[in-house]
């Protein structure tokens, strides 16, 4: 009898807990007030700039072909939680996002919420895009509409339990998703503020250049200080002014790596950074200089300790 009472109480507590979790972490779309900006059609030409600064092609372009505007998806992103398959975001009405309105893209990029009111996985770097200006999203949508329709839906992600349950992403958002807008800082120049917007809101540089905890959240105290490559092999370098970071790099050096991939040591960046460079090479030199200006201002932070390299 007593057992039954206890277990009933236990079930009740769990049920209340679950209900509270679902309530607190439910996907929430943008308010109509914020969406009013989207009533005017976006400017596709400006949108192309947002597309390049946001690096959408790095993930969404169909692999094994050169055209950055063929957004058929299919790239596989390995992670500790399983493999994500990047979706088709071409203008194809059924297989891509051809039927989307600007508000759908705004909800996806600023809130990580789908038109079906489900959470997106943060492998889609909306934790950075959430800081983007809503007008920029309208322009981006206008640009995406001009790109070719690519046939073929991509296959589902292959994630291990419990990470395959989308509702749980609400918990991740509750813990790590910071929607605070990036406001201009009047103590810095206009160039620096432009750079910060490009790096933080669009370029999502910190998404790769920061260490993460076991739940996949960025360790805030070591933002930009580098860490193990989330995709497995390799190490992502420290971008702060620490001596193991970019202390010896000039603003021109940083601009140059974003333009051509070449580093002051005469090396060329490889792997996923080479894809980033394909995007940043399309930006104006002023924009790259602004990004370099901001990166050069990052306070020195010691990154995680790099494991010794194997002898053979």
């Amino acid at each position: 009898m007593r057992m039954v009472k206890w277990s009933a109480a236990f079930v009740l507590v769990i049920a209340i807990g679950l209900a509270a979790f679902v309530l607190i972490t439910a996907p929430r779309a943008l308010s109509d007030q914020r969406l009013t900006v989207l009533k005017t059609p976006g400017n596709a030409q400006r949108g192309e700039g947002i597309f390049n600064a946001g690096g959408c092609a790095s993930c969404h372009a169909t692999p094994e072909q050169e055209d950055r505007t063929v957004l058929g998806g299919g790239l596989e992103l390995a992670s500790a939680f399983g493999t994500f398959v990047v979706p088709n975001i071409s203008s194809h009405p059924q297989d891509g996002i051809g039927l989307w309105q600007a508000r759908d893209l705004a909800n996806a990029m600023l809130e990580g919420v789908s038109p079906r009111s489900e959470h997106y996985y943060p492998a889609f770097p909306y934790a950075a895009y959430t800081h983007a200006k809503i007008e920029d999203i309208a322009d981006l949508m206008a640009y995406l509409r001009t790109l070719p329709a690519v046939e073929g839906k991509t296959v589902s992600h292959r994630l291990s339990f419990p990470f395959n349950i989308r509702v749980l992403i609400g918990g991740w958002k509750f813990l790590f998703f910071n929607r605070t807008p990036v406001q201009d800082d009047p103590t810095h120049s206009a160039q620096w503020n432009r750079g910060r917007y490009l790096v933080e809101a669009l370029g999502h540089c910190a998404e790769c250049h920061s260490p993460r905890n076991a739940l996949g959240g960025i360790i805030a105290a070591q933002r930009f200080a580098g860490g193990p490559d989330p995709e497995g092999k390799g190490w992502v370098p420290n971008l702060t002014q620490h001596e193991k970071g970019l202390k010896d790099w000039s603003i021109a050096d940083i601009e140059d790596v974003l333009a051509s991939g070449s580093t002051p040591e005469g090396d060329y960046v490889g792997g996923s950074m080479a894809k980033v460079v394909r995007n940043s090479a399309q930006l104006s030199k002023e924009d790259r200089e602004a990004m370099a200006d901001y990166i050069k201002s990052l306070a020195p932070i010691e990154g995680p300790v790099r494991p010794p390299r194997p002898a053979f």
Binding site: D229, K233, G234, W235, P237, A252, D256, S260, G261, S262, P264, E265, G266, D267, Y268, V269, G270, G271, S272, A274, K275, V277, R309, P310, A311, F312
Partner: protein, 143 residues
């Protein structure tokens, strides 16, 4: 008596195999480091941080031609792991990888003739680096 000899032979072959593998990695990295140093000098010229110097440009082109000739042979199957930044794709699409080395050598040879002064350097050199970045994109990730 026969046993220690066998053991010794066994150890020796094992040792030399491991040696061959680390040698290939060390050799290819040394070659690439040399190209990198030559390229750093040329980068300074391109950025206007150093005066134009034809000898330094030629040194980069020669180092690239040498790399083009030697590198394809320095990726034996037993050198996939170790202190290397080469990605597994090197061995998966070896034909494409080798073709890129060939193109690097051909482009360098053409530029040896085409670049004679600062003006021709400015006009002709800029695309050369795409060979480097393009190959590193698929085949190299720092570790």
């Amino acid at each position: 008596m026969i046993r220690p000899i066998f053991t010794l032979l066994f150890l020796l072959t094992g040792f030399s195999l491991a040696q061959a593998q680390t040698d290939a990695i060390a050799q290819r990295r040394a070659i690439m480091k040399g190209v990198g140093q030559a390229n750093a000098d040329v980068g300074k010229i391109a950025k206007g941080e150093a005066p134009f110097d034809l000898a330094k440009v030629k040194a980069l082109l020669s180092a690239s031609q040498e790399a083009s000739a030697k590198m394809p042979g320095l990726f034996p199957d037993n050198s996939k792991t170790g202190d290397t930044a080469a990605l597994p794709k090197v061995w998966q699409t070896k034909a494409d990888f080798d073709a890129r080395w060939k193109k690097l050598g051909e482009d360098a040879a053409a530029l040896q003739i085409a670049i004679t002064d600062q003006a021709s350097f400015k006009a002709k050199m800029s695309d050369f680096g795409k060979n480097c970045g393009g190959c590193h994109e698929g085949y190299r990730q720092k570790n």
